[in-house]
């Protein structure tokens, strides 16, 4: 997977976020402050402009610029979190111009570690970690088992979507939703839902 592939991924995320913006914001209205969709839409729009203004030459540079832009422009908690995720993945890729499935999987692991370190959320706390962690695990297993790239990315996307759905019965223990206590039960976590979009976009980029 080369720089073009990762640029396509970011484009796919941007379209998915735009299309899903109102849904994400509705999810956030239930247990947050009704801005997750607009936050990410603003962030990825800025990413598109930043990538167009100074197109990076490697997958790593592209993801680091994506992350830095998200940190600066999202405005909500998801900004530092997604920003750190993309930056850590980009840093894991180093100067490489071509990324193998194993490297991609290690990059997703780095993203997960970064999100965990920054937000101190564990699985089950009803955050994006509940989608990101199963996606990272599924990708890692698929690569170990020698699945084809598209199959591996399909597995990751399926795991992320399942993880997001599984946040519905959970009680939030991190972020502002945690102030809601038991009232957070019964709603899908918006950040987990957007993480499912991010992995859906990865699969879409692979089948372009």
């Amino acid at each position: 997977m080369n720089t073009e592939f990762f640029a396509a991924w970011i484009e796919e995320i941007t379209s998915a976020v735009r299309a899903g913006r109102d849904h994400l914001t509705e999810l956030d209205a239930a247990i947050g402050d009704a801005d997750h969709g607009t936050n990410l839409d603003r962030g990825f729009t800025a990413v598109g402009e930043a990538l167009a203004a100074a197109p990076p030459g490697t997958p790593g540079a592209l993801l680091v610029l994506t992350g830095t832009t998200l940190i600066r422009k999202v405005g909500g908690a998801s900004g530092p979190l997604y920003g750190t995720a993309f930056r850590e993945m980009g840093k894991a890729f180093g100067e490489a111009t071509e990324i193998s499935p194993a490297e991609l999987s290690a990059g997703v692991d780095a993203a997960l570690a970064g999100v965990r370190r920054l937000g101190s959320a564990a699985e089950g706390d009803k955050t994006m970690v509940d989608a990101l962690a199963p996606a990272a695990a599924a990708l890692s297993r698929a690569v170990r088992d020698g699945l084809k790239p598209e199959e591996a990315l399909e597995a990751a996307a399926t795991a992320a979507a399942g993880g997001a759905r599984a946040t519905v019965p959970l009680q939030a223990r991190k972020g502002r939703a945690s102030y809601l206590g038991p009232r957070s039960v019964g709603h899908e976590d918006p950040g987990a839902a957007s993480t499912a979009l991010v992995f859906g976009a990865l699969r879409a980029a692979a089948s372009r």
Binding site: G32, D33, S120, R176, S178, Y179, L180, G181, P182, R183
Partner: protein, 124 residues
């Protein structure tokens, strides 16, 4: 629903905290900000605070959340056991917790207990 009054020296601080709590806790909670003196200065106006208590009192009790100093003393003047009670809690964090609990239909004691939990939340 239990009513909540935020009492601060600063009109702006009470109003901004109310806006944040309302955004997290839902719009339907009877919540009033009573900050500053009548002429807009820093201080507390008991008249403003008692008007705020009346405004948010739906018959299920009212929780007063003061910031510091004169806000606490003004709140104490209006205490009325079982009906108007003071929450000795961190101002912003306690307000958010109280508003969320009130919005969830908690009783006066329940809102007070929720507000007091704010002493035990850690942020990191």
């Amino acid at each position: 629903m239990v009513g909540i009054v935020l009492i601060s020296h600063s009109g702006g601080l009470a109003a901004e905290t109310a806006a944040l709590a309302r955004q997290i806790g839902g719009a339907k909670v009877p919540l009033a900000a009573a900050g500053g003196t009548e002429d807009g200065g820093l201080g507390t106006s008991p008249d403003r605070v008692s008007a705020a208590v009346e405004e948010v009192d739906q018959g299920d009790g009212v929780v007063l959340i003061p910031d510091l100093g004169s806000s606490v003393l003004t709140a104490r003047l209006l205490e009325s056991p079982g009906r108007v009670v003071i929450a000795d809690v961190p101002f912003v964090e306690g307000a958010v917790s109280a508003v969320v609990a009130a919005g969830g239909g908690a009783s006066l004691d329940g809102v007070l207990a929720a507000a007091e939990e704010a002493w035990h939340f850690r942020k990191l």
